[in-house]
Amino acid sequence: MIVVDNVVAGYRTPAGLVKAVDRVSLEVRDGEILGIAGESGCGKTTLLKLLYGSFGDGLEIFSGRVYWRDPDGRRTIDCADFHRHWWEIFSYVPQGSMSALNPLMRIAPQMLDAGTGANRADMAARRARIARTLAELDLPARTQRLYPHQLSGGMRQRVMIGLAAYVDPDVVLADEPTTALDVVVQRQILENLVRLQRARRNTIVIVSHDLGLHRQVADRVAVLYAGRLAEIGSNDAVLGRPAHPYTQGLVDSLPRLGDRQPRQGIDGRPPDFMAMPPGCRFAPRCRRAIAACAGSDPDPRPHGSDRTAACIQLEEVAA
Amino acid sequence: AWSQGMTDVGTPRKETLVVDILTGRVGNPRRMNPYLEGNALVQGLHQLGYSILWEIDTVKGTQYPALAATLPEALDDSFTKWRFKVRKGLAWSDGAPFSSADVVFTARMALDNPKLPYHRFIVNNIKDIRATDDETVELETVNPLPKLTYSFGAVIFGNSFRVVPKHIWEKVDPLTFENYPPVTIGPYKLKDSDPNGFWFLWEKRDDWQRTDVGQLVGEPKPKYVLFRSYGPEEKRVIAMAQNEIDILTDITPEALEILRLRNPKVKAWYDAFPWANLDDPCQRGISFNATTAPYDKWEVRWALALATKIDDVSIATFSGMLRASPIHVPPISILMKSYHEPMTAWLKGFALPDGYKPFDPDYALRMGKRLAAERIEGLPKDEAGLRQLFGVGWWKHDPAKARQLLESVGFKKNGNAWLLPDGTPWKMTINAPADFEIQSQRLAFAVANEWKKFGIDVNVQQQQGGVFATEYATGNFQAGSYWNQNCAIGPDIWVRLEWWHERYVSPNGQPASFNRERYKNPEVSRIIEQMARLPVTDPKNVEQGTALLQELVKGMPVIPMFGTSKFVPVNTTYWKNYPSASNYYEGPWWWWSNFKYIVARLEPAQ
């Protein structure tokens, strides 16, 4: 279980702090698939990096704590030490995975490389696993011998998924893993992933802005808005019966095939981290905003059995 | 890095004399054919391998028979028919006896091989040569050749007529023969050499008695003579400082100073100032191309002489360890006696056409004072000693007179800078050797420094050997720190000064063999012709020589400056009885053919 305990984290820039994750608390439960959704730039990637313990690029925790606890609760690891367990407990599919491959190495050695520290299964076995994984991802066998630039965007992305999955870690953290994939392949891969997850009971966190995708695979879904956790709860609750006006807006803006009527997204634009509106951050765009919204920035509170949400008018909004 | 008492070529250090190779590493070490000009010989072949018919006594400046048993005897009054005998009982290093046939064979080989570079010389000089018996050679020259021994015996350095063994060479083509290992006549024979040319090991012959050295001096003590090259001066100095080498050739005064301080066993020619041997037979000065304006005027050349403060030049060049010479032969001991000292009176009275007397007899005294002020020890206390050390004097430093001379031929002074008669600024380039012949190199800079102060835009162009020589030969120079022209070793100074004859002048652009200053003086030429007719031993040689020198002083085609100071340190750790100022039995020219006579006199020090 990964616990995020009231964390404020983000980036220090000359213009000020970017608190891309702001007072967020949540748990990633063992053996679940957690979907993280939210608008572009709301802090999904940042949150995922926290879960992975990746601080190389200026990310800092300003307050709060992130740690992992093993199922028996005997061992905890602080996120500062996660990196010792990369590709053993945790693996990661970065966003923009298309440029995350070394242009001068063929695919197979790059995959073999991952987790060399932790996973010392013998080479032949690992090669076989790589071949199997790539096949599962619907990649031709020759992919192994190609250089990254010889792959299409989607193929590279699949390689990255394979890279994270083939060593079979406890926790797979995937950041927009299927953006470059056509839906057929995407479905195939996700189905595969879920099937494997069910068999092995490992944990998967998928970041995606695609609510439809979360609906298909996630056990629970978290929705972020401008660095804050808007809503978290079971798939059916959050996506079936959104409680937060923002989640509602997202659900509504989802285009439907065959629909040619102009559709509007949520009004307005996501706020700037440097200039957050006072009170509830969503208020300026919220169709149901009331005067009180500008005065308080609500923390998530339980709403129903399996969800928490952060809105002062929860009752009213709930469908 | 030498192990217990052994050299790194595997000979006992105590029995080995280690000598610097004058020219450094030899690029083609297996080629020892002395008749092919690209083969370096100073790695021992010249000094120890071959013997010369008539060797030079470097103390007296006269020749004596070496390989020959006698000096040549002229058979007629026209000096075209000669006879001499070769030494009896000599043998080649392979044991074959030496005889007059070898001498004749050598000459014939050159005569019969038009492609041999030496051929033309022999053809021009020898009409016929034959051995009348095992020890007698008779020859007939093409033209009268009163100074036959100069042509076929050593004067300076040696002679190109190197007798080779007939029994070997008659079977080979001298144009391609490598001559390795060489069969030689000297007291040592080549034992081993470095394929890369860094060292050459010579071993004393068991039958050393059957050599000219053996007969004339006796048994040489060093069992081995190792010629080796250490590279740049720093390394050579280190090598001697740690007793790896016994004899160094030609280093700078600075290097000598370091050596003296580092290793008390290292000795120079003198035990005190000026340390260097001053008897090198070529003197240093600045030459002019006498056909290139404005240096074609004697006024200009004389003005430049008077614009030179010789004391400063001396200090800048070799810290004052130099003997000045106002005339065109080197101020070596023998010639000081024959010329410099006798001519002092004339020099004092000598006047330029306008009556100005340029001679300054007191250089020696001023230098004595100046160096004493620098706390140099060991300087002579008395005037005579000083004059003997620093020379009879030089020309005055008189910029005013120099200016007047220049203005008399149309030069103008503009501020501090001189303009040529045509109004353009006077720019002058002095050719100087780059990184070899250090004394000439430094002299050029020092003189340039003087003339700059006088207002001429002087620039020293250092040149590597090839360029330096080529420009000199082709007359492509204005002034140069050249030294070839003014050399002499004995009272008969004809050998080199003969080069001043105007028939040798070539147009600029074409190579000249001699008189590269391109100086034409009918009087000089006339005296030279007269001297050519005198036999070597004729006392009139000195008389005529004096006249010649006086003529040259008037014309000043070269501004003579100093004798050459050679810093040739020796290391007395393993060997002693090297020649030195106090033990003057030979000059210190390790790279001359008479080196074998020096080796024969060395004694083990331990």
Binding site: - | E254, E257, N459, Q462, Q464
Partner: protein
């Protein structure tokens, strides 16, 4: 962080060199090229800060002239050679095709031709009056192809990257693409090449002097070292003659190293965060 420290140290070192070199040379009370103006081989003293040479020159003033000349020659040759080299290398690699073929030919031909005989030719044609300018030009001509060849290789690979394509589609000229898109990736490299070339220039000066091709009218660090060696300052322990030029070249190098790296760091956009 550390940046200002580096910058400051670099600036101080270069400032020092400028002070000791060009500035001091301006106010030199004497022409250090003239020999025998002072007693020889003097230890450093109040009168002669760095003593005197074996030729009776004041070492300090000689040093200041040398540093000035070497600095001028070194910096301008290094700057030009680096600029031309990087520019042409990028152009050849980026444009490819005929342009590349021609430029590569030029580079290869210049790399292949040894400069030594050419320098000898030059010096003999100018009768030893080879000016700093002429030497500088030759050095530039023979030193740009090396960076060019290396940079071309980088450009060959970089031109396949999308941000370069995007810049091209932003209407950028070839020049600006090279300058804005490629150079920033090579800035550090170019700076390294620049300071390295300064060293090359000083080394060439001394080997020219070693070959007797330098002009005695123009003292430089290289020739100063050469003369000191020639007069055996090294083994005679006359450190005040030999060490100052060596220290100068080290200071120049380290100074430029710190300064240029600090500046390059400044110029660089940190991709992690806002500027």
């Amino acid at each position: 962080m550390r940046l200002p420290g580096k910058l400051a140290l670099g600036a101080v070192l270069i400032g020092l060199i400028i002070l000791v070199g060009p500035l001091a040379a301006l106010v030199a009370p004497e022409d250090p090229r003239v020999w025998q103006t002072h007693p020889r081989n003097q230890w450093p003293s109040a009168e002669h800060l760095l003593g005197t040479t074996a030729l009776g020159q004041d070492t300090f003033w000689l040093l200041s002239w040398s540093v000035r000349n070497s600095l001028m020659l070194g910096v301008s040759v290094a700057a030009l050679a680096t600029l031309i080299g990087v520019g042409i290398g990028l152009l050849a690699g980026y444009r490819g095709g005929m342009v590349d073929r021609v430029l590569s030919f030029l580079m290869d031909a210049l790399i292949v031709i040894p400069s030594l005989p050419l320098l000898i030719l030059l010096s003999s044609m100018t009768k030893g009056q080879t000016s700093l300018l002429a030497v500088g030009i030759i050095l530039v001509i023979f030193n740009w192809p090396f960076p060019a060849r290396q940079i071309r290789a980088v450009a060959l690979s970089m031109r396949e990257r999308d941000f370069v394509n995007l810049a091209w589609y932003s209407g950028e000229s070839v020049g600006r693409i090279l300058w804005r898109q490629m150079v920033p990736y090579l800035r550090g490299w170019a700076v390294a090449n620049f300071i390295n070339t300064i060293l090359v220039v000083v080394a060439v000066e001394s080997s020219l002097a070693f070959l007797g091709l330098s002009n005695d009218n123009v003292p430089t660090i290289g020739t100063m070292i050469y003369w000191a060696l020639k007069y055996q300052a090294l083994i005679a322990g006359r450190w005040w003659w030999l060490l100052p030029p060596i220290i100068s070249i080290i200071v120049i190098f380290v100074g430029f190293f710190l300064l240029s790296n600090a500046l390059a760091d400044r110029l660089r956009v940190n991709p992690m965060a806002a500027r």
